[in-house]
Point group: C2
Chain length 675, copies 2
Amino acid sequence: MASTSIAQKLAKKQKEISVSEFFERNKHILGFDSLTRAMITSVKEAMDNSLDVCEEAEILPEIFVQIKKISTDEFRLTIEDNGPGIVKKQVPHIFGRLLYGSRFHSLRQTRGQQGLGISAAVMYAQLTTGRPSIIRSKVKNKDVAYQVELMLDTKRNRPKVVRDDFVVWEKESGTRIEMQLRGRYVMGKQSVLEYLKGTAIVNPHARIVYKDPFGTQYLFERASEILPPKTEEIKPHPQGIELGTLLKMAKATGSYKMTAFLQKEFSRISSRVAIEILTKADVPLERHPKRLTLDEAKRILEVVKKIKIMAPPTDCLSPIGERLIKKGLKNVLGGLKPEFYCPPVTREPNVYTGNPFQVEVGIVYGGQLPQDKPIEILRYANRIPLLYQQGACAMTAAVEKVDWRRYGLEQRGGHGIPFGPAIILIHFASSKVPYTSESKEAVAKIPKIEIEIEKALRVCGRKLGSHMKRKVKKAKTREKFDIVQKILPEIAQKSSKIVDRKVPDLRKTITKIMNVVWIDEEVVFEKRRHKVTLKVYNYTPKGQKFNLHGIVPYENLDLDSCDPKPKEIKEDGKITWELKRIPTTEIGTATFELFGMDEDEYDETELYVSGINPTSVVGAEPLPGDWDLKMRPPTIEEIIEEEPEEELDYDEVEEELDDESHEADGTGREASEAG
Amino acid sequence: MASTSIAQKLAKKQKEISVSEFFERNKHILGFDSLTRAMITSVKEAMDNSLDVCEEAEILPEIFVQIKKISTDEFRLTIEDNGPGIVKKQVPHIFGRLLYGSRFHSLRQTRGQQGLGISAAVMYAQLTTGRPSIIRSKVKNKDVAYQVELMLDTKRNRPKVVRDDFVVWEKESGTRIEMQLRGRYVMGKQSVLEYLKGTAIVNPHARIVYKDPFGTQYLFERASEILPPKTEEIKPHPQGIELGTLLKMAKATGSYKMTAFLQKEFSRISSRVAIEILTKADVPLERHPKRLTLDEAKRILEVVKKIKIMAPPTDCLSPIGERLIKKGLKNVLGGLKPEFYCPPVTREPNVYTGNPFQVEVGIVYGGQLPQDKPIEILRYANRIPLLYQQGACAMTAAVEKVDWRRYGLEQRGGHGIPFGPAIILIHFASSKVPYTSESKEAVAKIPKIEIEIEKALRVCGRKLGSHMKRKVKKAKTREKFDIVQKILPEIAQKSSKIVDRKVPDLRKTITKIMNVVWIDEEVVFEKRRHKVTLKVYNYTPKGQKFNLHGIVPYENLDLDSCDPKPKEIKEDGKITWELKRIPTTEIGTATFELFGMDEDEYDETELYVSGINPTSVVGAEPLPGDWDLKMRPPTIEEIIEEEPEEELDYDEVEEELDDESHEADGTGREASEAG
């Protein structure tokens, strides 16, 4: 066979592949790789859409989910929302065409992003059962709803309307989808029920009703009437923009000058900054963007990397918040009483490739949690619980990279998933979550993201670590106390008897031996209030006068209840008492009350002391030097920075540039070195 | 704001997203999530194409790869092959258009499958450096080559030719691509060099020359002049076909009758089987496929599930083979001497969703391998080394599910990546590899595939296990020997002295105490031959006569060298000696010679015995009952089936149905329970 004819022959085989053919063949990429997962993915895609559209329309979501068993492996899913509805013309395209949607081109935190999900579910349904999906939608102020039976022409990636009609629907507005698909219904960690539970926790403004295949109805009642703050659409942040993207934007802009172009198309570029960039990049301010050369664009990006530009606006992001993180963790415990909730950490927003993102972390530890298992990791992205592909996720990789032995967990070699009684919740929020695949179950290991998650974990881990240290210190001191208080009186009594004198007052002697200030906290929940009492025992041989500092939830603090009156209370919840002098062997107290929280929402105050040698204090940490400089538990950030970080040199990690140690770990070594 | 207007407003935002816009935005999905990985991915995509096209044209591949540093983070990649070339008209489409290719619609084992890879690399290059890629291609018997500078219009997903021309090229035929892209060059586990090395190992018919950014040139010389057997394109296997696919095929077929349709469009359906299926499914044989109803199609699939249909043809697959697996493992060792190579396992082909696949596994153990680290896993899919996303891969999940403690490795709780001095190589070959994402770095956790890999691992693990047991048994017996041989003579001597008699011959006494038949193997490599001597020491008090069985590479066995003449030699390498009676305390031997292998290609023979109580034999296993029934090391399969498998009930695992235990493990638990 001559080579020409081979080239010719090969040429004849070259064909265009439609995106729907591609995904039909590769349905596992979209999250349909097993029957169980196909069910969860389908519910998820419909839920994502419903929650997104309700929030967009500022409607408190009411979502109804039902799964009916048709045969051994065939189920009918129904998902109905009270959203604004979809105009007739758009229905077939939204549900019956891949890569068609409204959120792809907008930069803000949404669940759906790609215009793939729900039509993929419709495609999977038709592929596995041959049946069309039925969509009904009603727009407000219309008399009737539009109902359509829909299939997908995968060769052309276009919707195929099997039948459509107008129907009466007793609903102001909303959308309902019914899909019949091959699936398997299971309970347990990776199940529809778990997914809905996880969703309800971080979306307390939604009311979700779920009827499972056995007819059991679950109600996840709305816990809050307040919609999460509406996320704003933003422009891309200049840091991390790719050269090609900049060139494309310059070609496409309506602006006539580079200054205007930069200001108009990017976030955080003021006129001053635009001029600074262009001047430093040696690009004429008046240059028409369409005539921007490759070299000029390159120079602009180089300048952008070097100069200070404000972080992106955060109103495109909607973090879960400390309260819900704690609630989420509590829910997973299912009644088990833990020993300690680490105060959740919410990092400042950051940027990768022009997209703002924010990381939150919470840890719960000890108590009745299982001791001898790997810790559990709960992953959320844009308020969606991620149930699959833990091993592929940047969140997992970050957990594996932290040396948890420092914070009191067991971890072979200081790498991998640690063992111990702990659950870690991580939330990644971004105007664009870089999922590893279209099934949206794992966040890609982009170095900048991984490092940011790692930092959050370390901050939270450090809190866990100091709790553990405090615990150990308290336990040791308590032991010493017990010994001293048991043995000293006996000796005293015996020697008194021998010398025939009165038994002396031993308190002073005990304080001399102990030489500590012991701070105890008591939290009592009564009449929907947390009554907090801080008791300061002076077991030193002299009087003590010092400052006690704490961090409390300011919005829940009853200012009048504070006794004694604090010297200072700040709106970030920092509270400072100038304690009166406590004579030796005596006790000082400080009390305050909190309102509007559930019983388990408060159990411990972060306590610090100043004006006293902190090494002789048990139950509080030394006040960090920059208590006043920072808005939030201050120290930690600094402590972290001070720690020698051999593996990571944060400064050297540029936009999307991957640190080599990260590379090395990304190898999948992460899994091998687990445990 | 009224809801109508919201629905209207939302409708206006709905847009089509072009597949290239989608992937430009989600470039991490394609394997461009970090600068380092972007380099490897680009090289990989070009290599895949070159190797595929050479094999298709039956040309021994000669591939040249060069990476030049342009600036800190900008590199120019050149990949050139001696393939058949591409006709002018197709060049822009193949390199400048996503989802365009020749392999998507054909079922056989190729590296590229999706028509995405190389154009994605071109897109990444232009996105990060703004530069077109330069492609040159020459078809045999043409005077000149066609050269084109190409960009990708991502809005339309069409190639944009910047410039093109005909140029003189001193090459019979071939293709060259030059891309300039932002990247980072690293050494180590995840590097271009490692990838090329891995590729060279399992593609010994390719000659690869690599010039790195420092100007160092690496030559991976061709180790074999034989192309891997050409893989045949096959039709889909009926088992595992989705209902929707069956219906679509029925609509599209040119056949007029169902019988013809089934025979023509599927593999392994004979006329007899077609009639059986249709009759059992109660579908008229003469029914025109276009008029097949949903219910009929369903019934057909139900029957197909139940009746016996031949496994798919395997000539669409190209396994690596035992020899190259061993070579691959050896290469990774880099000079470290291991203790034991488990004979590699090649499973019979299997099917998932109509696609044939085959699993191969090799393990190397002990010796100088590091003792206290997680084992290393080498993953290959269709002869491509997989370097990233180990945690997301079915191969890793399968390793984590095996209880390696049974086979002598350390593993906490019997789950997760085991620790110990071992490397496991896994190759997954299929006419369609279900990658978890378009970056093709991890195989999706499809239950049927996972189970098949698990089985292969257990078979190989079992071999490791019996090696270890043998080792322990030998060591223990040896110890006993040492003691007996040291102490007995002393006692004998002393007592002889006391009673003043001659020291007696102790050999008989020793055999009485030891009571074992000890088999030792000696392999000497001389004049490019392995001379194997099996020594049988009879340390029992009576004469022994029994059969010795071994498995040797038949094609390398010098039949004339066997001494004594074996009773039987089969073409699957099974060899049986009827040993002559060995008197007590004497030694029997069997020798044979192997030719045509490198020194390290043979080190140990799998030995079995029959006609003797196997518990008194050290150095060989009892002959399995079905030695004659199976083609390959027979037992193992049976042994596996006999093992109580609580987690997995293979019979219940249907096509693509996921066993629940699998589900549970797929949770990402896999990572958490590692170690």
